[in-house]
Structure formats: structure tokens, C-alpha cells
């Protein structure tokens, strides 16, 4: 077997790490944002429980975005400039959404009680704005920032689908982390969100090869297509299993964690499919990993820090989820 020289493999490793950060971000902040988008459907007491269920995690979740975008910035500076220039407006809107959501977390409990509904609305609006903007950005990115009538339509479809996926993820998070009335309502929310999310996913899977010749060429060739078909098939099975589970009684009890875990599998599979479509590009058809990468010397210098920090971050994340495992308690006003 012919191994790549280390200096050439280095950008690929950074790309993998960036992809992993982004995947972890989308899943972990995905359920946060999903819970945020469900806020307006809940009673004031339920809102407190919902926020408490994500309280210890959201901060760390968002830092995966910083790590991902940070790697793009420092390891692939050319791509960072190109992508962010193309996505100028949606990035600004997403940031405004994330800022609103992030500060609402703190303000809603620290501000005067009369102001709480206002911050709850900011929480909802911020979550929705960030999710929509992320969907749009994903759509634009996957289609290589093409121009023509079909590209914006495609991006708009993803802009609607991704928030739906987040809502479903958020609802399943609540099924796992809460109990009683809120858990039953979360179950209803999950059922409502399932159909549009799946419809969107199917449409996008069909539209992606149509919109990008590069993607088409990578998927629809023998014999790869036989091995690759495992990805959509497993995704389909996982989604159907989620829907079937939502109709069972056990989902409120012993297997409350299963829909959430299955959805994570869906996200991971979609990510693998996407990664396969795009590799070896950073910006599809325009910039490859090696064209965009910083010098090997700079990557090695960053690599040292990454090797120390990332395992520590991963370790802490696992620890934190263990510490705060179990159901979120009811609010007890002292």
C-alpha cells in the first residue's frame, strides 16, 4: 500500500478533525437549538426545565463551532476567506441568532422577573434564526456556491429541513431528559417534526446529485454504489425505527434514550455521505484540501496543541455528560 507522505497527510488529518468538530457541533448544538425552537410551545414552568436540561452543556457545545471554524481559519486560511465571503449575510444572521440565544440563557434568570418572557422570546428567535441560517449555509456550501435559479431553491429547502431536524433532535432530547407532562408533549412534538424532516432529507438526497455533477460522479458508479448504498439504507432504517418507537409506550420509560441515539446515527451517516461527496475538496470544485492548507510547519505547530487539548476536551465532555446524566428535576423554588 502506498502511504501519503506525512506533510501531505497533515492537511487531511486537520480536515478530518475539522469535520469531526463540525459534526459534534451540529449534533450537540442541534439539540440545544431544537429545544430553543420548541420553547414557545411550553408553559413557563416547562420552559425552566427545558433550559435547565441544556444549561450545563450549551456553552461547551458552542465551542465546538469555534474549534471547527478555528481550524478552518488557521489550517485552511484560503478556504476560510472564500467560504465566509460567499456566506457573508447568513453568517452574520447566524451569529446574531447565536448571540441572542446565548445571552438569553443568562439574562432570563438574572434579569427582573417581568423581563423573563421577553428573554424567552429572544431565546426562541435566536435559536430559530441560527438554525435557519445554518441550513442555508449548508445548502450553499454543498452546492458549491453555484449560481442559477435552482441553487437558491436547493439552499432554501435545506434551510427549512435543518431546523426541522434540530427540532426533532431537541424533542428526542427532551423525551430522554424529562418526565411527566413535558415528556409526553415532547413526544407529540417529535411526531409532528418527523414527517417534514424526513421528506426534506429525501428531497435533498435526490437533489444533491442533480445539482452537482461532482457529487453525481462520485456516487453513481459501479462498484462503489453497491457499498455506498449502505449509507442511505441505514439512514432509512434508523429513521423508520425512530418513528416506530415514538408510537410505543416504552419510549416514555426504559428506552427513552433510543430515539435520540438513533437520530445521532442519522446525523453521523448523513455526515459520512456528505464527506464522501466533497472529499478531496474544501470548497467543492474550487479548492482542494492541499490548495487551501497552511504550510506544513504551521500545521505541525498547531498540531502539538491540538494533540494535547482535544483529548482533554473530549475527556471533559464525556465526564460532564456523565455527571449531569439522568432526568432534569422539577423546579423547586426555595
Amino acid at each position: 500500500m502506498n502511504w501519503m507522505p506525512f506533510d501531505e497527510a497533515l492537511p487531511v488529518m486537520f480536515m478530518a478533525l475539522m469535520g469531526l468538530s463540525m459534526l459534534i457541533y451540529v449534533i450537540s448544538d442541534g439539540y440545544d437549538l431544537g429545544v430553543g425552537m420548541l420553547m414557545h410551545r411550553a408553559t413557563p414552568d416547562e420552559k425552566d426545565v427545558m433550559v435547565a436540561s441544556i444549561g450545563p452543556f450549551w456553552d461547551a457545545n458552542e465551542t465546538w463551532l469555534v474549534l471547527g471554524i478555528g481550524i478552518l481559519l488557521v489550517a485552511f486560511p484560503k478556504a476560510h476567506g472564500m467560504v465566509l465571503t460567499e456566506l457573508y449575510l447568513p453568517v452574520a444572521l447566524m451569529l446574531i441568532g447565536l448571540i441572542l440565544r446565548g445571552v438569553a440563557f443568562d439574562f432570563r434568570v438574572k434579569a427582573h422577573a417581568a423581563r423573563k418572557p421577553m428573554w424567552d422570546r429572544a431565546f426562541f428567535a435566536g435559536s430559530a434564526l441560527a438554525a435557519l441560517a445554518q441550513g442555508w449555509m449548508l445548502g450553499r456550501y454543498v452546492s458549491g456556491f453555484g449560481s442559477g435559479w435552482n441553487y437558491p431553491v436547493f439552499a432554501a429547502a435545506i434551510a427549512v429541513t435543518l431546523p426541522m431536524a434540530y427540532v426533532l433532535l431537541g424533542a428526542c432530547w427532551l423525551i430522554m431528559k424529562t418526565e411527566g407532562d413535558l415528556q409526553r408533549r415532547a413526544l407529540q412534538w417529535a411526531k409532528i417534526a418527523w414527517a417534514p424532516m424526513v421528506a426534506g432529507l429525501v428531497l435533498i438526497s435526490m437533489a444533491t446529485p442533480w445539482i452537482s455533477a461532482t457529487v453525481r460522479a462520485r456516487w453513481f458508479v459501479l462498484p462503489e454504489i453497491i457499498a455506498l448504498s449502505a449509507i442511505p439504507m441505514m439512514t432509512g432504517v434508523a429513521l423508520l425505527a425512530v418513528r416506530a418507537l415514538l408510537n410505543t409506550r416504552q419510549v416514555l420509560g426504559p428506552v427513552c434514550w433510543l430515539p435520540f441515539v438513533l437520530l445521532i446515527a442519522v446525523f453521523v451517516l448523513s455526515f459520512l455521505g456528505l464527506a464522501y461527496s466533497i472529499y478531496p475538496y474544501v470548497v467543492i470544485d474550487r479548492l482542494t484540501i492541499w490548495q487551501a492548507a497552511s504550510s506544513a510547519a504551521a500545521l505541525k505547530f498547531i498540531g502539538v496543541g491540538v494533540c494535547i487539548s482535544v483529548p482533554a476536551i473530549a475527556g471533559y465532555t464525556v465526564f460532564s455528560y456523565r455527571v449531569f446524566r439522568g432526568k432534569t428535576g422539577e423546579l423547586r423554588y426555595a
Binding site: 435547565a52 461547551a60 478552518l72 481559519l73 488557521v74 452574520a92 438574572k110 423547586r332
Partner: protein, 466 residues
């Protein structure tokens, strides 16, 4: 307006908003550690409770400040690419690793210890909690270290070489320990401490006026005033040294700060003027003869270079000139305030009831004076670097994005409106928290009750619920 001017305004709006919060959290971390330590060391129960209350109250302030710092910091990591795509393309090999280390450090701190500090109260031992507080404090300081190393390198670049328009690092030690870094780092750490000193003095004064937090406020006020009174003279000395360093490496920045157009022997110290960049002269100038030469060169007749020696290579004069005067003016006001207040407080035997109410009102009014001085100082140094993004080597215009002016204008408006609203909300919430500290701490109890149990074994918890 010009796209590049708008892009600069947008970036300036964002970093200005961002720096407000690190300016507080860098030093507040250490103050929390101090409060925590006083709590552990105190003997009498009421004293112990007072320090604990101070600690818990300012932990809330810290959490809020940190959250605002994080969200505005996230924005910044994107704006490098949206506003200055050419910057990372050209100096990515220098700036990238420094930023990466900042993110990783901040990351590590945030992931590792902030959670324990905020949520772990009463769940981990006193010792572990004290250590967590220490790591949060050291983490914010290390964060500042990397960012200021990069910023200073952009002002006084050393340790690199240039090949095909791209910067390559020759020596990391010389990149990090570039000539202006030690001065800027010290200046900023002191600025943060002073910002905090006035913040806690102001909030305590407000609490004394509103008769809330009776145990903690007098003690915290003493800490704040003492810190300010001791450190402002030191800050003036460091600032002067920083200025001399700037004179050596960036003479046109000094010329803009002084409003000096022509190279002059025995340059005057301009107290007031309206510098006119078009006519290249000062209107309504009021100056003390020869004093600038004395301050800058320690010699009444020494030569100071003027802006006309640096045509097309000097910053916009009006902004730098006035930002510098605002910073120095605020510094002098802070010095006078802290010395007077400290002296009066000491004379009253540290009993706040015997302080004149006007003084408490004045201290409350000065709560955010550190913000004004810090921001003005940053404006001097950042606008003073223009028209370069890396001083003398890369022009800002050469790395700007192709995004159109209306688009930048639109997002600039959105950002500014939101930042203004958030600043207002931040100040309003601090005021509310200062007036009702017990409410906020009670809510903290509720928050804890709602968070899933930490170190408690799951079995026990489930047992409790059934």
C-alpha cells in the same frame, strides 16, 4: 461610504463590544479567587458569610460577563474571514497558530473548569472548587496572552520572513516576544484590573446607597478602592513606557496622538485642537511649548517627528488624537477619584455610613469608567496602526473582502443595534442584581435544583423521586 471604511467600522464595532467583557473577566477571575480565599481564611461567621456572599454575587457577574465575551468572541472568529479574507491568506502561518492556541486555551479552560465553578458549588469539595476558580482565572489571563501576542506582532512584527507574499515564521520566540508585547500585555492586564476595581467599587457604592448586601458591600468597596488607588500610578508609569516603546517603533502613531504635523525641535504639548486631515493642520490649537519633547525625549529641545514625514503612511489623526485624550483624561479622573475616595473611606474607619452620599453617587457614576479608558486606549493603538494591518508590511486595503458596501452597511447596522441593546441590558441587569442580590442568589438555588444531580449516584436520585 467606502466598503473598506464600513468593513473597518464593523470590525471595530465588534472588537470594541467584545473587549468590554474580557476587560472585566480577566481581572474578575482573580478577584473571585481573592474573595474565595478571604472566605476560607475568615474566622467570624458574619465575616465569612460576607465574603461568601461577595464571591457568589460576583460569580454571577462573571458568568454573565463571560457569556457575553464568548458570544462576541465567536463572532470575531468569523469576521476575520468575512472582513479580512486576505489577512489569513498572507499571515496565516503566523496568526493561525497564535489564534489556535488562544482557542484551545480558552476552550480547555471553559470546558474544564468554568462548569465546575458555576454549577459545582456545593457539589465538589472546597479545595477542588478553589482550584477550579484558580484555573478559570489563569485561563482568561493565558487567553489574553495569546491574543495580545498576535496583536503586538501586528504592531511591531519580528521573527518572520516573507516569501512570495506569504509570511513564514523564523522564530516563534521572537514572534511572541516582539518589541511591544511586554508593554501591551502589562498595560492591558492593569487596565482590566482597574476596570474591575471601578466596577466593584461602583456596584458596592450603589448597594450601599440602596442598602442591599450590607455585609459584603463595605468590604468589596475597600478592595476596589485600594486596588485602584495603588494600581493607577503604576498604570500611568507603564503607559508612559508603552508610549516610549511606540515612539521607537511606530513614530507616526505618536505624531497622531500628539497632533504634530511638522517635525519639530522642542515640540509643544497640544492640549486641545481639532486636527484637520484635509488641510493637514490643527484648528483651535491650545498647546504648552516644548512639553511634548520633554515627555517623549526627556529633553526640552529634542526633535519629534511630525506626520508630514509619513505621508500616506500615517493613521487618521482626529480619531487617534481624541481617543488618546479621552484615555488620559479618564485615567486622571480615575486617579483623583480613587485617591480621594480611599482617603475618605480610611478616615471614616472603613464605615460606609460615615461616607458622604455624594461620594457614593460619584463612585456609582464611575462604575464603567474603566470601559471608557480601555476602549479609548484600544482605539488609539488600533486606529493608530492604520493604514496597515501588519504595521509597515501589509496594508488593510490589500486584504479586504469583495463584499459590497450596502451588504456590509446592512450587517453593520444589525450588529450595532444588537450590541447597543445588549450593553443596555447588561448594565440594567447588573444594576438589578446589585439592588436585589438575595433574589439572584435564591434563583441560583432554583437553577441548581433544576440541573440534573451531579456527583450524587443515580440510584439515590431515582430512589428519592419514587
Amino acid at each position: 461610504m467606502d466598503a473598506i471604511v464600513l468593513a473597518r467600522m464593523q470590525f471595530a464595532a465588534n472588537i470594541t463590544f467584545h473587549i468590554l467583557f474580557p476587560a472585566i473577566s480577566i481581572a474578575l477571575g482573580w478577584l473571585l479567587l481573592f474573595f474565595r480565599w478571604r472566605y476560607l481564611r475568615s474566622g467570624a461567621t458574619d465575616v465569612k458569610q460576607a465574603w461568601l456572599n461577595a464571591y457568589r454575587f460576583y460569580t454571577k457577574v462573571f458568568a454573565l460577563t463571560f457569556a457575553l465575551g464568548v458570544v462576541s468572541g465567536v463572532t470575531m472568529s468569523f469576521q476575520f474571514g468575512t472582513n479580512w479574507p486576505g489577512f489569513m491568506e498572507r499571515v496565516g502561518d503566523v496568526a493561525g497558530p497564535l489564534l489556535a492556541y488562544e482557542v484551545l486555551t480558552a476552550f480547555f479552560l471553559e470546558a474544564g473548569f468554568l462548569g465546575v465553578m458555576l454549577f459545582g458549588h456545593g457539589r465538589v469539595s472546597e479545595r477542588v472548587h478553589l482550584w477550579a476558580t484558580f484555573f478559570v482565572a489563569i485561563g482568561t489571563t493565558i487567553s489574553a496572552f495569546w491574543i495580545l501576542a498576535l496583536n503586538s506582532w501586528m504592531q511591531t512584527p519580528t521573527g518572520h520572513s516573507v516569501a512570495d507574499g506569504r509570511f513564514v515564521v523564523e522564530s516563534w520566540l521572537r514572534v511572541i516576544w516582539n518589541p511591544s508585547f511586554p508593554y501591551r500585555f502589562t498595560h492591558m492586564l492593569l487596565a482590566s484590573t482597574l476596570t474591575c476595581a471601578f466596577l466593584i467599587s461602583g456596584l458596592s457604592a450603589w448597594q450601599l446607597l440602596k442598602r442591599s448586601a450590607p455585609g459584603a458591600a463595605p468590604r468589596v468597596l475597600r478592595v476596589g478602592l485600594t486596588l485602584a488607588a495603588v494600581l493607577i500610578p503604576l498604570q500611568i508609569f507603564v503607559g508612559d513606557q508603552h508610549g516610549l516603546n511606540t515612539l521607537e517603533h511606530q513614530p507616526q502613531k505618536i505624531a497622531a496622538m500628539e497632533g504634530l504635523w511638522e517635525t519639530t525641535r522642542g515640540a509643544p504639548l497640544v492640549l486641545f485642537a481639532i486636527p484637520d486631515g484635509q488641510a493637514r493642520e490643527n484648528h483651535l490649537e491650545l498647546a504648552l511649548p516644548k512639553l511634548a519633547s520633554l515627555i517623549l525625549r526627556h529633553d526640552l529641545d529634542a526633535e519629534v517627528q511630525g506626520l508630514n514625514d509619513f505621508r500616506d503612511r500615517h493613521p487618521p489623526v482626529f480619531a487617534v488624537f481624541w481617543a488618546f485624550r479621552v484615555m488620559v483624561g479618564m485615567g486622571v479622573l480615575m486617579l483623583a477619584t480613587s485617591w480621594l475616595a480611599w482617603w475618605l473611606y480610611r478616615r471614616s474607619g472603613w464605615t460606609p455610613e460615615r461616607l458622604p452620599r455624594a461620594l457614593l453617587w460619584w463612585l456609582a457614576a464611575m462604575t464603567f469608567s474603566g470601559w471608557v479608558a480601555t476602549v479609548a486606549g484600544w482605539w488609539v493603538t488600533e486606529i493608530g496602526r492604520q493604514p496597515f494591518i501588519v504595521y509597515g508590511l501589509v496594508r488593510t486595503a490589500d486584504v479586504a473582502s469583495q463584499v459590497t458596501a450596502p451588504m456590509i452597511g446592512l450587517t453593520l447596522t444589525l450588529y450595532v443595534v444588537m450590541y447597543a441593546a445588549l450593553m443596555l441590558a447588561y448594565v440594567a441587569v447588573l444594576k438589578y442584581m446589585a439592588e436585589k442580590p438575595e433574589d439572584v442568589l435564591a434563583k441560583e438555588g432554583a437553577e441548581h435544583a433544576a440541573t440534573p444531580p451531579a456527583a450524587i449516584p443515580t440510584a439515590t436520585v431515582q430512589g428519592n423521586r419514587q
